[in-house]
């Protein structure tokens, strides 16, 4: 019974004590350093974020945010706020993502919380910032070998201005891990080279197969000294392993875990450039420094484009060049700049600087050689590249007015000029015939025909007239010569037609032609005289008279030719022969 009483009393006292303790308990603030997975750390790493947790216990009502002393030594920002309440007393947890970029031991705290009228202070933390992250209890450290992020650079010993290429590789041995975002290292000047798509592959590490995604970064450290490149992180999402209702959950896309994976920070040593008396244009590796002009000849005041181009592996985007030692007769202006990135990884990038140069005085001028001095990071010495000098010929402006195409539609099609100067010397001909148009010409033979046609017509007319005249002139002689031939033909015809009257006419015609007299002059007396003069005897003359009278009778007395008179044709033939001899 006593025992029972003792137990009851003890229990009542314990309950009362607990009640009093709970009611009367003070607000307490505690601060501790955790890694990003929630395990306490003994030492944090330079550049790698860690979590500072501030737990405020025993809060009755709302409590104001804590104020942390010494927070300026770190890069801190609140990431979450958790609150749990039991017996009307709350415990509030504030989590701060913190990062330090310098090595050393820093004091953080106390965190001061205002709870009603009371001010409550937390413990003070001594945070060691070193090269490595050291967990407080090694057994507690979570070696997350299923997913990790590796950050490396190609060279940890560089000179100021040298290109540095960093690689961030996310490894995972889990299936179905998706990367939701990747964050650039929080330092100025980093340029992600493969922004669109990271390189992906499979790699074996310590006998375990990992899938990886890799991003590359480019950076040009400007100042010498030890440079810490802070860690970067990727946000990943994957399916929770303890999901027993996966089929159901996946339907609603529930139970998907999200995690932020941080890489280690990197510290590199940036050396200063060796001393150099001249101007150093760049640091890196360069070749092919050339100077070209778009035209070596121009008129006074016309713009010539001088291009300086260089191939290099350097901070080429921020590289700038000017034309050096330009003669006073030239005016120059900076124009465009082009960067042509090499297609292959080891191919150098080409940058071209364009300058507009105007020659103000006619003559032949030399654009002197251009020099480019750089620090060669491979040979570790200064080098100078030099271009060849350029000869520019400046012509005086012509006094005559320049040809300007007329302002009709021709001009709209015309001159697409290279240098934007419509109607200038080198306007492109876009309106003419690109193919050969055979020259129109009259065939030689046609030309000659047309040339000789009027001559021919004129000549033929003249010839015709001459022939007519000649014929007129030559007709009597011809008739005289052919009189007997004609007489025989007519006689033959008359004999055939038995036409006695034709005999008279043929003899009259014969006398007319041979004696060159008109036919009306011919009479019997006259013929008698001609025959006598021709040396015929009287008998023959009488015979002629008889014959002539006979044939005349057929004409003048219309005597009909009868039987036995066919001999007249023979006589006529005989007399033709006789006359042929004497006429």
């Amino acid at each position: 019974m006593i025992k029972i009483k003792t137990i009851i009393n003890t229990s009542v006292m314990l309950v009362c004590f607990l009640f009093v303790f709970c009611v009367q308990a003070n607000v307490q603030v505690h601060m501790r350093v955790l890694d990003m997975h929630g395990y306490e750390l003994e030492q944090v790493q330079v550049g790698k974020p860690f979590t500072v947790e501030i737990a405020v216990q025993g809060v009755e009502n709302n409590v104001a945010d804590p104020t942390i002393k010494g927070a300026r030594s770190f890069d801190m920002h609140r990431t979450s706020y958790q609150m749990s309440t039991m017996n009307n007393r709350s415990t509030v947890k504030y989590l701060y993502a913190t990062q330090s970029d310098k090595q050393g031991v820093y004091s953080l705290g106390p965190a001061v919380v205002q709870n009603g009228n009371k001010v409550v202070e937390s413990n003070i933390l001594k945070i060691k910032v070193g090269h490595q992250e050291i967990p407080q209890k090694k057994s507690e450290s979570k070696s997350n070998d299923t997913m990790f992020l590796k950050f490396s650079v190609d060279n940890e010993q560089v000179v100021a201005g040298q290109r540095l290429e960093g690689t961030i590789t996310f490894y995972t041995s889990m299936p179905d891990v998706s990367i939701t975002s990747v964050t650039d290292p929080a330092i100025d000047g980093f340029v992600r080279l493969d922004k669109a798509k990271p390189r992906q592959g499979v790699e074996h590490i310590n006998g375990k197969q990992y899938s990886y995604a890799q991003w590359r970064w480019k950076f040009f450290p400007k100042e010498p000294g030890r440079l810490t490149i802070p860690s970067c992180y990727v946000d990943v999402a994957y399916r929770a392993e303890d999901d027993y209702f996966s089929a159901f959950a996946s339907f609603f896309q529930a139970r998907q875990k999200r995690e932020r994976i941080f890489s280690d920070a990197l510290t590199i040593n940036v050396k200063a450039l060796p001393e150099y008396s001249g101007i150093v244009d760049a640091v890196g590796q360069f070749k092919n420094f050339t100077a070209t002009v778009n035209q070596a000849v121009a008129r006074e005041g016309d713009g010539i484009v001088v291009s300086l181009s260089i191939d290099g592996d350097s901070d080429i985007d921020n590289l700038n060049l000017e034309l050096q030692n330009l003669p006073n007769v030239f005016k120059s202006y900076s124009s465009k700049q082009h960067v042509e990135k090499g297609n292959k990884r080891d191919q150098l990038t080409r940058k071209t600087f364009e300058f507009i140069v105007q020659g103000m005085e006619a003559g032949e001028w030399e654009l002197p050689e251009q020099k480019f001095t750089y620090y060669d990071v491979y040979d570790e010495q200064y080098k100078t590249l030099t271009t060849s000098p350029l000869i520019l010929k400046i012509l005086s402006q012509p006094s005559k007015k320049k040809y300007v195409p007329p302002s009709n539609d021709f001009s709209t099609k015309t001159a697409i000029d290279m240098d934007g100067d419509v109607g200038s010397v080198f306007a492109l001909n876009t309106y003419g015939h690109w193919h050969e148009i055979p020259e129109r010409k009259m065939p030689g033979w046609l030309f000659m025909v047309l040339f000789f046609a009027p001559l021919g017509i004129w000549f033929s007319g003249a010839l015709r007239r001459t022939i007519v005249r000649y014929k007129k002139w030559r007709a009597p002689q011809a008739q005289w010569r052919s009189a007997f031939k004609i007489a025989r033909k007519k006689l033959k015809l008359a004999r055939k037609e038995n036409n006695f009257s034709a005999i008279y006419r043929l003899f009259v015609e014969l006398f007319t032609l041979r004696c060159s007299v008109k036919d009306c002059v011919i009479s019997q007396e006259m013929t008698k005289k001609i025959l006598t003069d021709g040396g015929l005897s009287e008998e023959q003359v009488c015979e002629w008279e008889e014959f002539f009278n006979t044939i005349s009778a057929f004409v003048f007395y219309n005597t009909e030719g009868g039987q036995g008179q066919e001999g007249l044709f023979d006589q006529a033939d005989k007399w033709i022969k006789v006359l042929e001899d004497i006429l």
Binding site: L395, Y403, F426, A427, G432, E436, P454
Partner: protein, 237 residues
């Protein structure tokens, strides 16, 4: 018959396609020229068969941009042969610039040059028609206007002679190809061999008419010179 028609149609289609290809080449070359890729443009222009005025003109521009001034001059002169008056005006300006760059003085006021330019602007067809017109008028007058024949003849005969001479000059210009000296310095010999006496020295871009050929030698005639020169020192226009 059908086969023949098919064959003829095929030839026509092939030639049309070929022409279209060359036009595309010309336009592509223009684009290269506008993008200041002169060598590419020049190569494309050069690949065109039976080049026209615009092609030669643009080839000249490309060559000039590439500092090949003699080539530019040659192309422009080739373009000038069949150019219209407007095109000739532009080409003349380019040619003048090319001569200036090559260090040659161009005589702008000589009668011969004026006459040459006038002849270049008149086509042979036009001159033939002009001459024939006056020729027919002359004979027409001889036949139909006998009363005023003397007056007409006094006018028409000199006109006919002038037209005839112009036509002959045009024929001669076409008959004898023009060539430019493409070497900085060359010699003009009295005969077609280097053993002959040197008549004179000729310079880059000097212009001559080729009147005769003998093996690798050409007989040339310039404004005041005549002689023999090696063919490979000349570039024909």
């Amino acid at each position: 018959m059908n086969r023949i028609m098919f064959f003829i149609c095929s030839i026509c289609m092939a030639s049309l396609c070929s022409a279209r290809d060359f036009e595309e080449t010309f336009l592509q070359a223009n684009r290269y020229y506008q993008n200041k890729e002169y060598q590419k443009a020049l190569d494309l222009y050069d690949s065109i068969d039976r080049k026209g005025v615009a092609t030669w003109h643009n080839m000249g521009n490309c060559a000039f941009k590439l500092n090949r001034h003699l080539d530019a001059l040659t192309c422009w002169k080739r373009a000038r042969k069949t150019a219209t008056a407007k095109e000739q005006q532009e080409l003349d300006r380019n040619i003048e610039t090319a001569y200036e760059v090559l260090g040659k003085e161009v005589d702008n006021i000589s009668f011969w040059l004026f006459f040459r330019r006038l002849l270049d602007r008149c086509s042979l067809f036009f001159l033939q028609l002009l001459f024939l017109s006056f020729w027919f008028i002359l004979f027409g007058v001889l036949w139909f206007f006998k009363r005023y024949k003397r007056v007409f003849l006094a006018t028409l005969i000199p006109i006919n002679i002038l037209c005839g001479l112009t036509l002959i000059a045009k024929y001669r210009l076409q008959k004898y190809p023009v060539a430019l000296v493409k070497k900085t310095s060359a010699s003009l010999f009295a005969g077609p061999d280097q053993n002959y006496h040197v008549i004179s020295k000729v310079k880059l871009a000097d212009e001559f008419s080729i009147t005769e050929r003998c093996g690798s030698w050409c007989k040339v005639r310039g404004s005041s010179l005549s002689g023999w020169i090696l063919a490979d020192t000349l570039v024909e226009i």
